[in-house]
């Protein structure tokens, strides 16, 4: 008997042990079928997250798993577990400001932008007044979000049919007072990304192209140099959408076109001027032009001293009649006078005006508003050509969400290119005062509008926030190759963005929109099914065995007791 029992036990144990791998496999299978098959998936772009000297700014969180709510919610409702969906068309800046300043808790914020602000969207420039209104609103919103410390995730998305349908549904539900929570169904928005991490040692890359002039025989002195500089990187509320067509895509395009024109002139020794030309595409523009400063410091001292003057290009894509030259040396300085006269004469010929604006540099203030100030701090004469009349604040006018392709006017850029090229040529070849047009239309040196347009379109689809550009980013390689085509020597300088700015990654994600049923619905369904099965059971028992059997099912215990007694 004992032996039998033991063998049975052993048998049982063996059976159990052999079941373990099967059970484990089943558990793994169960766990692996992780589902994310939402009805709708939308691309969303996160608000930037950065620190300045340790002070946090922007949205500090990235993952999202809450129900959707719209602006029609009841006042006083608790939104800390909801995502508020704000279409730009119905945005109330005051409301957002209140929410942020009073530090009210919110599960998340999803801002829906009209399709016209999408980077690849070229058409639709005609409904301008409505778009202008949106642009202003967007600029205000961006300023608010970029300079605030927001303890919930903020995402931007573009309106499409799915989001419109969802928003209409959510509004309807909210208006009825049924706010979406776990028990009342509705829409659930899920973005599953890991927590954002600091970008360790972000790099800024400066690209310079050197076009040497012709040295007369027997002339041992260093030739003077003229520099044309533009910063190519951007900064905006949504780094994955910061294409900065005007600030500073227009500057980059103009620089490339000027380089192309002068490379044609300089390729022929007979037309090569007695000036060297230095073209520089600098990075780190929004961060007090840190890249420009590092680039200047890395230049050979003699080369720096040979720079006659530098022209910095900043936002020259959307002006009509007047361009501004910003200087930091006083206007009655001889060099400044000469530069300004040269520019204004050419401008007159071309049919518009240039004005001179002077802003003194405050050495104690670390804020560098214009690129030429970095040159002036190192005693190089420089000026910035721009359509902006007031110096931009920190992180302003650096390629915001509203700065899309439609804001830029190709003709304005072409006029700017002509201005810079003719003025430089007049200075280089000594034609001041003479009425000679070198880069006339219909000549072989005409400004090429197709070139301008194609580069502008490319830049308007490429977000260029410096910490997110790797050292060998395709854009940097493309700019380098372009300068290599037009200049003799190109060098690329990688620096790390030190100083006070720290950035965090996770700029783009996919939003899954689920339509969920509430718990009450599931319970109701369970109730209905339970009663259906009970009815089915009783029906079958009655029809096959008779009603007596059904009643006897419930009366069995007493009859057993009777039997035992």
């Amino acid at each position: 008997m004992a032996d039998e029992k033991k063998s049975k036990q052993r048998h049982r144990v063996m059976v159990l042990e052999s079941m373990y791998p099967v059970v484990a496999l089943m558990l793994i299978l169960v766990a692996c079928v992780e589902l994310c098959d939402a009805a709708t998936v939308v691309d969303v772009y996160r608000l930037i997250q950065y620190d300045i000297s340790g002070v946090p700014f922007g949205s500090r969180f990235s993952s999202l798993n809450h129900h959707a709510a719209s602006l029609s919610f009841q006042r006083g409702a608790d939104l800390s577990r909801s995502v508020l969906i704000l279409p730009l068309r119905e945005l109330d800046i005051g409301f957002v400001q209140d929410y942020i300043s009073q530090k009210q808790s919110l599960g998340g914020l999803l801002i829906l932008l009209p399709q016209t602000f999408r980077p690849g969207n070229v058409g639709g420039g005609s409904q301008s007044s409505e778009n202008d209104g949106f642009r202003n609103l967007l600029a205000q919103l961006e300023k608010l979000l970029v300079h605030g410390n927001i303890p919930f995730p903020v995402y931007f998305a573009f309106e499409n049919e799915d989001t419109d349908a969802m928003l209409a549904d959510v509004k309807k539900n909210d208006a009825l007072g049924q706010q979406a929570t776990a028990t009342t169904g509705g829409y659930k928005l899920v973005i599953s990304v890991s927590e954002p991490r600091k970008i360790a040692s972000p790099t800024i890359t400066n690209i310079q192209g050197w076009l040497p002039g012709s040295r007369a025989d027997g002339d041992s002195n260093q030739l003077p140099t003229i520099a044309v500089v533009a910063s190519y990187d951007t900064f905006g509320a949504a780094p994955a959408l910061s294409v900065g067509s005007d600030s500073n895509g227009s500057g980059v395009v103009s620089l490339l076109e000027v380089a192309r024109l002068f490379s044609i002139l300089y390729s022929n020794p007979k037309t090569r001027g007695r000036y060297n030309l230095l073209f520089a595409l600098t990075s780190g523009g929004p961060y007090n032009y840190e890249g420009t400063q590092k680039w200047l410091k890395s230049l050979d001292q003699r080369m720096r001293e040979s720079i006659d003057y530098a022209i910095c290009l900043n936002s020259i894509g959307s002006w009509d009649n007047e361009l501004l030259i910003h200087v930091s040396k006083p206007p009655d300085n001889a060099y400044i006078k000469q530069i300004f006269e040269g520019f204004s004469n050419v401008a007159e010929d071309l049919g518009f005006q240039v004005a001179l604006k002077h802003k003194k540099i405050n050495i104690s203030n670390s804020r560098v508003a214009w690129e030429h100030e970095q040159f002036s701090r190192l005693r190089v004469t420089a000026a910035t050509l721009s359509e902006l009349s007031t110096p931009p604040e920190l992180l302003e006018n650096t390629g915001s969400l509203s700065d899309t392709r439609q804001l830029v006017n190709e003709d304005a850029i072409i006029k700017g290119v002509k201005l810079v090229a003719e003025s430089l040529a007049k200075h280089i070849y000594g034609h001041q005062g003479k009425d000679i047009k070198i880069f006339a239309d219909d000549s072989s040196l005409a400004v090429n509008p197709f070139y301008v347009r194609s580069w502008l379109d490319l830049l308007s689809q490429t977000p260029r926030v410096a910490p997110f550009l790797s050292k060998n980013d395709p854009l940097i390689m493309a700019l380098k190759k372009e300068l290599e085509d037009y200049t003799a020597e190109v060098s690329v300088q990688h620096e790390s963005l030190d100083g006070s700015f720290t950035f965090y990654d996770s700029t783009k994600a996919s939003l899954n929109i689920y339509q969920v049923a509430s718990v009450t619905f599931d319970l109701l369904l369970l109730l209905v099914l339970g009663s259906y099965l009970i009815v089915l059971f009783s029906f079958l028992v009655i029809t096959t065995r008779g009603l007596d059997d059904l009643i006897s099912l419930f009366r069995r215990p007493p009859s057993r007791k009777v039997k035992m007694a």
């Binding site: 098959d37 689920y514 096959t544 065995r545």
Partner: protein, 228 residues
């Protein structure tokens, strides 16, 4: 609460089979073995059908109703009937009355059909966050299928196991059996040509199943009278 929804749909899909087994005298006579054998026969039939479909059918890209393809599918569907015949007539069962035999076979057949066709989509789909009515409708379809299969088994047992049938009823029996056997083709015709959506089709199936069940029940009773 998505596992909850999965649970709900599972009891809708598979509950009626269990209820049928326990409510009717099938459980008293312990006909589980018959049902299991019928399920195994269904498995084999499904395999054969699969091979035939793969060999003879062309997969069309669009949802166009091609009469030849549908006729071919219907013919292959008759393999189902052959399988049912084998399960009813050829397999040896313990001594159970004809009445219970067809019910047990039909139950086992329908249960295997539900598990094979509906368990995997249910497991994968109903547990997601997204809510759709699809799985509830699928459960209702499983119910309709159960009724259809039992009716078909009843008619099958009438056709093959009962020797003395009133002559007048034979054509009706065969017509009903043909209608039930070609139900898949009918539903696919409705879906593609008439453009009916899933809820409508499921409703149609439920109604038809009840009608067919009623008719086959009446036929069964009518055929039972002479032997009484």
């Amino acid at each position: 609460m998505t596992l909850f929804h999965f649970f709900n749909c599972a009891i809708l899909t598979f509950g009626p089979h269990a209820v049928y087994y326990s409510a009717t005298p099938l459980s008293e006579y312990d006909t589980l073995g018959t049902s299991v054998k019928a399920a195994v026969v269904y498995l084999a039939t499904a395999l054969v059908k699969l091979v035939c479909l793969a060999t003879f059918l062309q997969v069309s890209e669009t949802e166009v109703f091609d009469p030849y393809q549908e006729a071919l599918k219907a013919m292959i569907g008759f393999i189902d009937v052959a399988g049912l015949y084998y399960a009813l007539a050829q397999l040896t069962h313990r001594n159970i009355s004809q009445n219970h035999k067809f019910q047990a076979v039909g139950l086992g057949w329908a249960f295997a059909d539900s598990v094979l066709h509906r368990l995997a989509p249910l497991w994968v789909g109903a547990r997601g966050l997204e809510f759709t009515w699809d799985y509830v409708l699928q459960g209702l379809e499983a119910n309709a299928n159960l009724v259809f299969t039992i009716s078909l088994a009843a008619l099958g047992s009438l056709m093959w196991l009962r020797k003395n049938k009133p002559k007048s009823l034979i054509p009706i029996i065969y017509t009903c059996a043909v209608i039930i056997a070609t139900m898949p083709s009918i539903t696919s015709y409705l879906k593609r040509v008439m453009g009916w959506h899933f809820p409508k089709i499921v409703g149609f199936e439920l109604v038809t199943s009840l009608v067919m069940a009623f008719i086959s029940c009446q036929l069964f009773i009518l055929c039972q009278r002479p032997s009484l």
